[in-house]
C-alpha cells in the first residue's frame, strides 16, 4: 500500500449567511492514493466546490486538517500555499479558465509560466495533440467549441506536470455526448501522466467514470 497523496481529516467548514451560520461540510475525511481517479458527486449547494477549494488551499477549514505529500496545507501561509498549488496541482476550473486574448497554444504556455516552467513549443503542441486539439493551437477561445475549450483547459492543467488534478464541474456546461467524450479524455490523460484526479460533478453518469466514488449529502461524505 502506497502512502496517500492526500489526506483530508475531520474537515468542517461553515459560512455566514443572512439567516445565520450555515455548515456546508461536517467532519469530512477521505484519502487519495497516487495515480487514482476519484469522483465527488453532489447536488448544487452540497459543498463539493467548497471541498475542492479546501483541498486546493483556496479556503481554510474551521477545523480539521488537509495533508498533501506529507505537508499540512492547512498550516501553510497563503504564499506557501500558492507555491505548493502552482508546483503540484493542476486545476480545471468550472468555466474553462482560458484567457480570451490568448490562443490555445499561448494559454498552455501561460499555464507553464505560472508553474515556473519554461514553455517549449514542442511540449505545448504535444499536450494539445494528446487532448485532440492540436489543430486549435493558433485559435482563440472564441473560435472553439465548448468541448474544445475544456480540452485546452485540461492541457493547461497538465502543463504544470501536476501530482493532483482538481476538476470542478469541468464538463458541466457541455451537451451530454460531448461531456462523456471529454470526461473520457480527462480520465485517460490524467492516468497517462501519472497524476491523481479528483473531480466533482452533479451528474451520476459522469461520476461513474471513476473507480472510486464519493457522494456529498447533508454535509457528510460517503463512499460508494
Amino acid at each position: 500500500m502506497q502512502n496517500p497523496l492526500l489526506k483530508v481529516i475531520d474537515v468542517t467548514r461553515s459560512f455566514s449567511t443572512d439567516s445565520g451560520v450555515s455548515e456546508v461540510l461536517s467532519n469530512v475525511s477521505f484519502e487519495l492514493e497516487p495515480g487514482t481517479v476519484t469522483s465527488l458527486l453532489g447536488s448544487s449547494g452540497s459543498g463539493k466546490s467548497t471541498l475542492m477549494s479546501l483541498v486546493a488551499g483556496l479556503l481554510r477549514p474551521d477545523s480539521g486538517s488537509i495533508i498533501f505529500r506529507g505537508i499540512e496545507i492547512t498550516a501553510l501561509d497563503d504564499t506557501a500555499c500558492a507555491r505548493l498549488r502552482s508546483r503540484y496541482f493542476g486545476v480545471v476550473p468550472q468555466r474553462g479558465g482560458l484567457l480570451p486574448y490568448l490562443t490555445a497554444g499561448e494559454n498552455v504556455a501561460f499555464a507553464m509560466n505560472i508553474a515556473g516552467l519554461e514553455a517549449r513549443k514542442r511540449e505545448i503542441t504535444a499536450l494539445l495533440d494528446e487532448l485532440g486539439v492540436a489543430h486549435r493551437s493558433g485559435h482563440f477561445p472564441r473560435e472553439m467549441s465548448g468541448g474544445e475549450a475544456v480540452r485546452v483547459a485540461v492541457a493547461m492543467a497538465l502543463a504544470s506536470q501536476p501530482d493532483l488534478i482538481l476538476a470542478d464541474e469541468a464538463t458541466g456546461e457541455l451537451d451530454p455526448a460531448t461531456a462523456r467524450e471529454t470526461m473520457d479524455v480527462i480520465v485517460k490523460r490524467s492516468i497517462d501522466h501519472g497524476a491523481t484526479l479528483l473531480y466533482v460533478t452533479h451528474d451520476v453518469q459522469m461520476a461513474g467514470y471513476a473507480k472510486r466514488r464519493f457522494t456529498l449529502m447533508d454535509n457528510e461524505l460517503t463512499a460508494s
Binding site: 500558492a82 496541482f89 476550473p93 482563440f140
Partner: protein, 235 residues
C-alpha cells in the same frame, strides 16, 4: 500626444458563416481613433461592435480592408509579431472578468506582467490595485471579491503593463448601475493618467455617455459619430 498609438480602420469587411447563411458583421467600416483618446462604440446585439474590437485587437482577421495600430498594418505583421503586440501593447477587458480563479488579485496582475515581459514586478501590481481602491483585497482570490471588485481587478490587470491600447468589450455588462459607473470612471481616470488609446464597446447608453466621442454601429456600418467634451469625472 503620442501619435504612434493611433488606431485606424480603412474599409474593413468581416463576415461569418452562420446556419442562416453569411452574416456580414463589419461592412466597410472606416474609423480613426486618435492616439491617447477614448471612444465608445454602441449598437444593438449583432451590430458588429464586438467584431470591431476583435479586428483591432488582432483577435480576428478582416476579409478585406486595413487595420493599422500605431501606423502598422496588422495584416503585414507575422503571426508572432501580432501575438507579441497583443501581449505587450494591448490591454483587454471583457464582460466576464476572466481572472484565474486559483490566483489572488495581485498574482493575476503579476502573471499579466510576466506575459508582457514588462519589468516592475509585484510592487507595480500592488500599486495598480491600490489605485483602483483595492488595497484591502490585494491577496484575495476572485471568489472572495464582489462582482464590481473583480471587474476592477480585471481593469487593473488590463492596465498594469502600461498598454498603448485598451480594448473593453461590455466591461460593465455584468455589473449593477453603481458598480458600472465606478468601473467606467476608474477607466477614464486611468486613461487621463496613462494616455492610452481606449475603445469601449457597450450597449449601455449611460456608459457611452461618459465618453467624449461615440460611434454608433448598425448592421456592420457606422451610422452616427458624436463628438463633444468629455463629461467631468465625478471624483
Amino acid at each position: 500626444m503620442n501619435e504612434s498609438s493611433q488606431i485606424t480602420l480603412d474599409r474593413v469587411v468581416k463576415s461569418y458563416a452562420a446556419a442562416t447563411g453569411t452574416v456580414v458583421a463589419l461592412d466597410g467600416v472606416s474609423l480613426t481613433v486618435e492616439a491617447g483618446t477614448s471612444v465608445a462604440v454602441t449598437g444593438h446585439s449583432g451590430s458588429g461592435k464586438s467584431t470591431l474590437l476583435a479586428v483591432i485587437g488582432a483577435l480576428e482577421v478582416p476579409d478585406s480592408g486595413r487595420v493599422r495600430v500605431g501606423g502598422h498594418p496588422l495584416a503585414d505583421m507575422s503571426a508572432s509579431a501580432r501575438a507579441r503586440i497583443r501581449r505587450t501593447d494591448f490591454g483587454f477587458i471583457f464582460q466576464s472578468d476572466n481572472l484565474i480563479p486559483y490566483l489572488t488579485a495581485v498574482e493575476n496582475l503579476a502573471q499579466q506582467m510576466a506575459l508582457s515581459g514588462r519589468a516592475g514586478g509585484l510592487s507595480r501590481c500592488t500599486e495598480m490595485l491600490q489605485r483602483l481602491g483595492l488595497s484591502e483585497h490585494v491577496h484575495k482570490l476572485p471568489d472572495q471579491l464582489s462582482g464590481g471588485q473583480r471587474q476592477r481587478v480585471a481593469i487593473a490587470r488590463a492596465l498594469v503593463h502600461h498598454p498603448r491600447y485598451v480594448l473593453a468589450d461590455e466591461p460593465t455588462g455584468s455589473l449593477d448601475p453603481a458598480s458600472s459607473a465606478d468601473v467606467i470612471e476608474f477607466l477614464l481616470a486611468e486613461q487621463k493618467e496613462t494616455k492610452a488609446t481606449i475603445v469601449v464597446v457597450t450597449h449601455d447608453l449611460s456608459v457611452a455617455e461618459r465618453f467624449a466621442r461615440r460611434v454608433s454601429l448598425s448592421h456592420g456600418r457606422i451610422v452616427a459619430v458624436t463628438a463633444g467634451d468629455q463629461p467631468a469625472l465625478n471624483r
